[in-house]
């Protein structure tokens, strides 16, 4: 009888496999993104009323107004703080809605299978081919008094379908895995298999889809606002750029008016992209070893090259 004992002596590691390793990429993304979020949360509490009109007109940065003033003497820093909060609110709402909609139509449909999957998939495909921007423009044109919530809602409804397709594909592949079948054989309930066995394996994918949706929403809202179709009466990075454009900031050389919102928009987008790349590296570990920096590690050192040359001569 050789039913021998298999002894394991190596120490047990305690890291969750879904937690991304803290690379320089992720750290940079988290610090940049965190700083912008912190500014959006705390900034509005520290600055003056962003709509208060002053009599100094368009003025550059000074001790009183750290980022100068607009044409009507409004403090740019105060506007920037409120605009950051507004843009982040749009991003958050769209992120959450995209998560819910794409998870429902993508994951539940694919897991249930049959006619429900066909129906959900058809619906997703229809939403996917609706051209986003024109619809947003039409809806915006019909509703005269738009709140930030309405704009977010419109962006979420036109934006979730792509994520749903990606999630559907992954769920289809996961639901046929042996460990899912093993759970069915063990007698697990269907909803529990979905929630406990399948969903945790989709977390990295969900996270990257949500981060992407937030970028899409913030940029989309900025684009709409810049065209003058955004939320009325609220500050976002897009509305700031819109007013700067209307106030001829570029021609007057008032860089303090249009550079800060543009810069924050770019920085926040970059930060979220960096976080997204880090999450992608968990889903697809190949990406980690295919960076230029890691490929450099494969080369021979000059010492090795010299030795190789000597031995071949």
């Amino acid at each position: 009888m050789t039913a021998d004992t298999v002894a394991l002596t190596a120490p047990v590691t305690r890291r969750r496999p879904t937690w991304p390793p803290l690379t320089a990429k992720l750290a940079a993304g988290l610090i940049l993104g965190g700083a912008v979020v912190l500014f959006g949360l705390l900034g509005p509490l520290l600055v003056q009323d962003p709509s208060r009109v002053g009599d100094i007109g368009l003025a550059g940065p000074s001790g009183d107004h750290l980022l100068g003033t607009t044409q009507t003497g409004q403090d740019v820093l105060a506007q920037l703080a409120y605009a950051t909060r507004g843009s982040l609110i749009v991003g958050a709402i769209v992120g959450v809605l995209t998560l819910l909609l794409s998870a429902f139509f993508g994951i539940v449909g694919a897991y249930a299978g049959g006619w429900l999957d066909e129906l959900f998939s058809l619906f997703t495909n229809i939403v996917l081919v609706i051209p986003g921007l024109p619809v947003v423009i039409v809806i915006s044109a019909y509703v005269p008094d738009k709140s930030l919530l309405l704009v977010s809602l419109v962006l979420a409804i036109t934006g979730w379908a792509g994520s749903a397709r990606v999630l559907r594909g992954s769920t289809l592949s996961l639901r046929g895995r042996d460990y899912v079948l093993a759970c069915r054989v063990a007698g697990e309930k269907r909803w529990r298999i979905l929630a406990v066995e399948i969903l945790p394996n989709l977390i990295p994918l969900l996270a990257s889809q949500v981060v992407f949706a937030v970028i899409f929403a913030i940029l989309g809202e900025a684009g709409l606002s810049y065209l003058g179709l955004g939320a009325s009466g609220s500050f976002t990075w897009g509305t700031m750029l819109y007013y700067a454009q209307n106030g001829l900031a570029l021609r007057l050389g008032a860089w303090w008016w249009f550079v800060p919102p543009g810069l924050l928009l770019a920085l926040f987008g970059a930060a979220l992209s960096l976080i997204n790349f880090s999450i992608d590296e968990i889903i697809n570990p190949k990406l980690r070893s295919q960076t230029r920096a890691s490929r450099r590690g494969w080369r021979m050192s000059s010492e090795q090259l010299r030795k190789a040359k000597e031995s071949t001569l």
Partner: protein
């Protein structure tokens, strides 16, 4: 004392080629009886319908026709009857790298079936059962193994965890779908011997699905040879291997490496 019977089991899949459809008969009129304490080997090449038979027996697919009887009673489709069937008939999957969820610990894999079939058990009891199961499949120290995730274990260790999971509900019938084909040759015998030991201890009926005639002969009482969805030959293990009647069985037996025959050919 459980007996699993299959009568006239057939499974057809509908294939779609654009607008035309055709049917593929994966399993055709398969019947057998699996008694307690007996091992029946189901032998056949890839695509012969072996795994489809396993799926039908495990209620993962519905047979097109035919019936499955557990202790001479038809299997319930849902509810308490199906739960009882699930407790009695368990499965060991082929690929130990796919059959354990990478997200969960070994303990989760073993504790869930125990909790499902013994809802009244306390946490401490479940934990004790988990450790006991790990010791029964010779994974020690059990407390250490229980905390690990599948990716920290080797293929053989994973397959032992999969065997422990199948034993967790205390089944009467075990369906082993090529349990060692994905493992290193060096550890196959250990896993097969473990299965044989557990079978004797628990008086299990085992359906051993394989394409390896040598282990089928060694570990089973009866061999069914499957070819293109049909059972073409059946009988006591030694009879089927030593005196194959069907053409396909003969080809299969000849395909197995046989040093004596090879030496004889060389000498000639």
């Amino acid at each position: 004392m459980t007996t699993l019977e299959a009568h006239g089991l057939s499974k057809e899949y509908r294939l779609r080629h654009g607008l035309r459809t055709s049917t593929l008969r994966a399993v055709d009129d398969v019947g057998f009886t699996l008694g307690h304490g007996r091992t029946v080997a189901l032998v056949g090449q890839s695509g012969s319908g072996k795994s489809t038979v396993a799926k039908l027996l495990l209620q993962l697919e519905r047979p097109t026709s035919g019936e499955i009887l557990l202790d001479s009673e038809p299997v319930a489709r849902r509810g308490a009857g199906l739960a009882r069937y699930r407790r009695t008939v368990q499965m060991i999957f082929q690929d130990p790298f796919a059959s354990l969820n990478p997200f969960h610990s070994v303990e989760h894999h073993l504790a869930r079936p125990i909790r499902l079939h013994h809802p009244a058990m306390t946490d401490a009891d479940v934990r004790r059962r988990v450790l006991h199961l790990l010791e029964r499949v010779r994974l020690t120290p059990a407390a250490n193994v229980a905390r690990r995730r599948p990716h920290e274990l080797s293929g053989g260790q994973r397959q032992r965890v999969a065997i422990a999971r199948a034993l967790a509900p205390e089944p009467g019938v075990l369906i082993a779908d090529e349990p060692v084909s994905m493992l290193d040759v060096s550890i196959r015998l250990g896993v097969l011997n473990l299965l044989a030991t557990l079978q004797r201890e628990e008086d299990l009926g085992v359906l051993y699905i394989t394409h390896d005639l040598a282990t089928a002969r060694h570990f089973s009482d009866e061999i069914l040879v499957m070819y293109q969805g049909r059972i073409v030959e059946r009988g006591p293990a030694d009879d089927v291997i030593l005196r194959p009647r069907h053409e396909y069985t003969r080809t299969l037996a000849d395909a197995a490496p046989n040093p004596e025959r090879r030496l004889g050919e060389l000498r000639r």
